[in-house]
Symmetry: C2
Subunit: 418 residues, 2 copies
């Protein structure tokens, strides 16, 4: 009896494992390679932008080109991340393959000319469109295609940030607010690991972040935990404010500029004006690296000098960029805004700067994307296990306070927050 049950479980799961390895392996390797190409291009574009500061003045024009190309050739690709989440919830026509080159080029162009945007939207869309194209090629059933699409999201997310386990959980968690279901567990895990591995194999290195505070002989300190909780409440409300503002700004821009081509002109001019008024270019682009050693960057927010308002400026630059038709993700800016907000709160709460920056990094994203578990794992993958309790409190409390909307409008509510 027992040997038969063992054999049955072994046979069924080995078949499943082999099937997913064969199905997902090649597509995840393709996605990982696409992400490597994307990250490499992004790096080149950012360096070019620093070498040629005048590129910024062409930002309005670059935006017009992006919006025109999307309008002319994009079709449903303009739906972006929301289209992918929709197709997972209710498999339909799939995600068009053209989404992959379009989003890759549009994001690189956005960054080349100085738009403030991210990477995860691009990676998720690369993953989703390649996975969906593969499903059509292999004539997979709707049910299988759905799992492959989730795996594509996991591969893209895992590869672009170098955090495979967070990527796998992200793909399971992002669909519905308040629930993780394990139906696509193996496909997502395989995809994220293969995607990340492939991206590394192309020589891509990810930024590393270090939190020195309390690293040795660490145990929870009640007082610090209270400060972390207070910061998490603010991060949660900031996540809510960010997604609502982003959606409202998009609606406002559509009302102000009925013609789509006018919107990036407005956005580009606003960004140029912001740069002139503030006298800094630190909030353009990805914000992870700068040619100027004195600039505000994401890794720099883990150290002094104290910068109390960086989060506000980065949020402003990002909302203007994303609401006016430029392309890229919301997540790297959210990392930046979150780390800057954590950094600012460290000063107010008298808490370690590096720890609070790290908690803001993942906490704001957890709040805005409603993915606390993926963000907890991401925090662990990026900052190490020593701060696990603080990371989890930051992500889960921020999630609790961010309301029922978020940056992904296609998300459904499975378990309400109160």
């Amino acid at each position: 009896m027992l040997p038969r049950r063992l054999l049955a479980s072994w046979a069924a799961q080995t078949r499943a494992l082999m099937k997913w390895l064969c199905l997902i392996g090649p597509v995840a390797a393709t996605i990982g390679s696409a992400c490597a190409l994307f990250l490499w291009s992004l790096d080149r574009a950012t360096r070019l932008r620093f070498d040629h500061p005048a590129l910024l003045y062409a930002l309005p024009l670059a935006g017009v080109a992006i919006v025109w190309v999307y309008g002319r050739f994009g079709g449903r690709a303009d739906g972006g991340n929301n289209l992918i989440v929709d197709q997972i919830h209710q498999p339909g026509a799939g995600v068009p393959l053209r989404m992959a080159p379009l989003i890759l080029v549009a994001t690189v162009v956005t960054h080349l000319f100085g738009g403030s945007a991210g990477r995860e939207g691009t990676a998720v869309q690369l993953g989703g469109s390649l996975a969906s194209g593969f499903s059509r090629l292999m004539r997979l059933s709707a049910a299988e295609g759905r799992l492959v699409l989730m795996a594509g999201v996991a591969a893209g997310f895992g590869a672009v940030f170098g955090t495979p386990i967070a990527g796998a959980i992200f793909a399971l968690e992002v669909l519905s607010l308040g629930q993780v279901r394990y139906e696509a567990l193996l496909p997502c895990l395989i995809a994220a690991l293969v995607g990340d591995w492939t991206c590394h194999a192309w020589g891509i290195e990810h930024t590393s972040y270090a939190i020195a505070a309390g690293d040795a002989g660490f145990h929870i300190q009640g007082w610090l935990l209270a400060k972390v909780t207070a910061a998490a409440v603010i991060l949660g409300l900031a996540g809510l404010a960010f997604s609502e503002t982003l959606h409202a700004a998009g609606a406002l821009v559509r009302r102000l500029c009925p013609h789509p081509l006018l919107r990036p002109v407005l956005g580009g001019l606003l960004l140029i004006a912001l740069v002139q008024v503030l006298g800094t270019r630190d909030y353009l682009g990805l914000g992870v690296w700068s040619a100027d050693p004195g600039a505000v960057t994401l890794p720099g927010l883990f150290q002094p000098p104290y910068r109390p308002f960086s989060w506000l400026w980065k949020a402003l630059f990002t909302v203007v960029t994303l609401a006016t038709g430029f392309k890229g993700g919301e997540v790297t800016p959210l990392f930046f805004i979150g780390a800057a907000l954590g950094h600012a709160l460290a000063g107010v709460l008298n808490a370690p700067l590096d720890l609070m920056a790290g908690l803001g990094f993942v906490g704001l994203f957890a709040a805005a994307a409603n993915t606390p578990l993926a963000c907890t794992l991401m925090g662990i993958e990026l900052f190490g296990a020593a701060h696990t309790p603080y990371i989890a409190v930051a992500c889960f409390v921020a999630y609790a306070f961010s309301g029922h909307s978020g940056i992904y409008l296609s998300q459904r509510v499975a378990v309400p927050k109160v």
Copy 2:
């Protein structure tokens, strides 16, 4: 509009947070203290057993005492962990308060006389019965009582192993196979943190485990990952075999000894015979610490010398102990059996001994309890973040291969594994 929504979310969630802090704080502190008392007693009992080896010969009698007391005074408390899971799925009469002292004393007695059992069942039952008693005292609604009961499980689990985040996720994950729902997120997180913190405040220190393999500049190695996957498949099947054998042995014992008081006599005599035949006492008790420096212990399995069959003996001792009416959890023995199996597989697969022992530690538990996410977090909390991808693969693949049953019979199937 936005300020009003921010205020509404802030007010609602602050109310929830305060409510749970006030409700859960005291009960979690009580549970943490009970766990501290339990761990302290367990340590004393283990030391006493080493000082007085003859205690083993009283094991049959001790078992009779446990079974008699449970039969006379236990009532529904004999339902153990399954009663708690049932009461969370379908709140009814609650968990009787007497479960707490009964399980504490019975587990310590089991360990004092040399039974091979664990701690988590005891911690979960301490948590569940104290939480349920508290709900009745405060006249909480059935819905609230349910959440407090889950929080009690989180507090007990988090405190007894010193892994609060794994404890919180365990309480959410253990109820249904294949699904995590966030309804009790804040209560479980608060409870696990307070429980762990209180247990530490009493001076309890947890065993620490170290995996040195590939600690610096770590990145996934394809070949090692393949070995880990192969080991995880075996861990998954071993988890299935362990829970099925445990249930079958229980049924067999009930058939052989219709009178409940005879069962621990049989079990005790079998354990004494096993000790005589094998000529070792290493598989008695918890297995975490030994007065004999040459003994097989759980931390010792992370190092040479190579012991290819320890897992089998520990499994045998544990099944005999738990199937014949002795008390304690299945989980610490599962840690031991898993670490020993990983250790054995490291030799076969030519993989690092410490890494494979660590993966077996959490992987077998993930398989037998169907809680891969909690076990991944536990692995990270115990062994550090450097091995996150291997830990996750071990837990999730082992989970996939362990079938739809497990050590907790009250678990429901939310998402089937194939």
